[in-house]
């Protein structure tokens, strides 16, 4: 009986009730119909206490900063930068696709936004250059999993708030895993490109002058995340203030440096932020209301004990958690999945002596891979719907990239020194 709300949550979710309302529904069902000793109107206090938190303000600010940067002409500059650096490699345009996602991590920080943008801009160009459409969609979805791992991503902030770890450290920790994923995908692209004869998009490697020129164009966009991290590291501002300053900085860059941002962009930026915030934060609120039920029934403690009884070998535990998370990521959108399971799994990891920063990177990379994987990966849907590639075709093309990402996950999971090298310097 105690687990009935969990069953209800899944039923509601699979019949098409949005995840936030499925979580609300299951939690309210519990507090209304079970004799929990807590009147449902008092549960509403949780709606407010979980929202009225100053650190959470960082979310709309970083969503807004990403949107401002997109309207400032930064995306096109980063694309040229990616082209200059990787266009000469085998499968040039597919390599550009991966490099662009890596750079865009510092701008959009959202896998779905990145997948949608590259599906619109890059996939038609790839098809025009003779790339298979299914392949183009597959590499776009796979590479979009890198963006949230590279700072400053919303998912990184959410994890830091849930696990109560330093935002600056989790930001810095994202660089190495993001680069490992990028290298794995680029390596896979070059193998496929060699087999299929996908040619480089430029004849020769760019010379130092060309790279320097392009770097000068993109330097503002590329250096902003470093500015944020340094500001956090030296205690100049809190994560929330860092988000607000990122908005201010990106507006100034867009207006005075790139001269592309104008008043006509104000409305779409505001709408992007409103919808982005409304969706993400409502899930956080709903998950914490649902988490209230879980805590009330001591389910996290039971789960922790159950997992620890099963094994106290941290490597085996990481393998089990990885499989669980991959499965979850295939069904639930990345951010939502993280919000729901992080409070359950972080205590398990901590009990086994796994650093919460390292564990955060494992969770985030894992859930992002789930977003590319059938049957319900959210980036898969975004890419397929924008490019109009049938899901069957997509699935045939995406497997090599999923294997590459899984190999990256193995490295990230079992070589913690790689992930922890940068945060340990702070």
């Amino acid at each position: 009986m105690v687990y009935l709300p969990i069953l209800l949550l899944f039923v509601l979710y699979f019949v098409g009730v949005p995840i936030a309302y499925a979580l609300f529904g299951a939690a309210i069902f519990y507090f209304t119909f079970f004799d929990a000793g807590m009147p449902p109107d008092l549960v509403l206090q949780k709606f407010i206490t979980s929202t009225a938190s100053f650190p959470l303000l960082a979310i709309p600010f970083f969503v807004m900063a990403g949107s401002v940067m997109n309207y400032s002409g930064i995306s096109s500059r980063l694309m040229k930068m990616a082209e200059v650096l990787t266009g000469h490699l085998k499968g040039g345009m597919a390599q550009v696709n991966v490099a662009l996602s890596t750079f865009m991590g510092g701008v959009s920080g959202s896998a779905n936004a990145d997948a949608a943008m590259q599906s619109k801009i890059l996939v038609p160009q790839m098809v025009k250059h003779g790339y298979d459409k299914g392949f183009s969609a597959a590499i776009t979805a796979a590479s979009s999993s890198i963006s949230p791992v590279i700072p400053p991503g919303i998912v990184l902030i959410i994890y830091a708030l849930i696990a109560q770890v330093s935002v600056a450290k989790i930001f810095v920790a994202g660089y190495v895993p993001g680069l490992i994923m990028a290298v794995a995908l680029m390596f896979t692209v070059s193998i496929i490109a060699k087999k299929r004869g996908y040619r480089p998009s430029r004849e020769t490697r760019a010379n130092a002058g060309e790279i320097a020129r392009q770097l000068k164009e993109s330097i503002w966009a590329l250096s902003l995340p470093f500015g944020i991290i340094l500001g956090l590291r030296f205690g100049l501002f809190t994560p929330t203030e860092a988000g607000a300053m990122a908005v201010l900085a990106s507006v100034l860059i867009g207006v005075f440096v790139y001269r592309e941002l104008n008043l006509s962009h104000f409305k779409p930026i505001l709408l992007d932020t409103i919808y982005g915030t409304g969706t993400v934060v409502l899930i956080i609120v709903a998950a914490s209301v649902f988490g209230y039920y879980l805590t009330w029934e001591r389910i996290p403690q039971e789960l922790t004990q159950l997992l620890l009884d099963f094994t106290d070998n941290k490597y085996l535990m990481l393998a089990i958690i990885n499989v669980l998370l991959l499965a979850l990521g295939m069904f639930i959108e990345g951010g939502a999945a993280l919000i729901i399971v992080a409070p359950l799994l972080v205590p398990v990891a901590t009990a086994l002596g796994i650093d919460p920063i390292h564990f955060g990177m494992i969770m985030i990379v894992n859930i992002m891979i789930g977003g590319v994987t059938p049957p319900f990966g959210s980036m898969m849907f975004t890419t397929c719907s924008v490019t109009r590639v049938p899901i069957g075709v997509f699935v045939r093309e995406v497997w090599p990239f999923i294997i590459a990402l899984l190999c990256s996950l193995l490295v990230i999971t079992y070589v913690p020194s790689l992930v922890m090298f940068l945060p340990n310097l702070m």
Partner: protein
Amino acid sequence: MIYIRKIGIHLEEILCGSFLLAMITLVISNVILRYLFGTSISWSEEVATICFVWCVFLGASATYKHKMDMGIDVLVSKAPPTLEKTIRLATRFFLLALNGYLFYIAIVFTLIAWEKPTAVLGVSSAVFNSALIVSFGLISWHSFKFLVADLKSFRTSQGEVN
């Protein structure tokens, strides 16, 4: 008249956008005041948080209105047409009932906690809690409209079959 109607249609976005701008202005001003003038506004954090709460719940209503909330539709859309429509209708009924109930308990909760003051300004905590009333009130209204629209389309398609 058209102008007023437009405001009505985009009410959530207009209010939410205003709260968003207010909170970003407050946070940036506080950083600037701290570094340039060595001072800060004591109530800034609480007012920014109030704006955030309103922004989140009004934003939630806006995303609900545009059916932008994250969920999966694939299983239902694979069902036979009549079953699909029946599930969709049942879902609409559920969402109306849930949001209507949340709207009701939001009123009860706001009234219960009316006397409780906020930490810094000392005003009634209704400044936070009433965001729930407005938001779930609007979401219930949207749920009702979606249900009516679906019922109409369900009846039309049933008529065509008969």
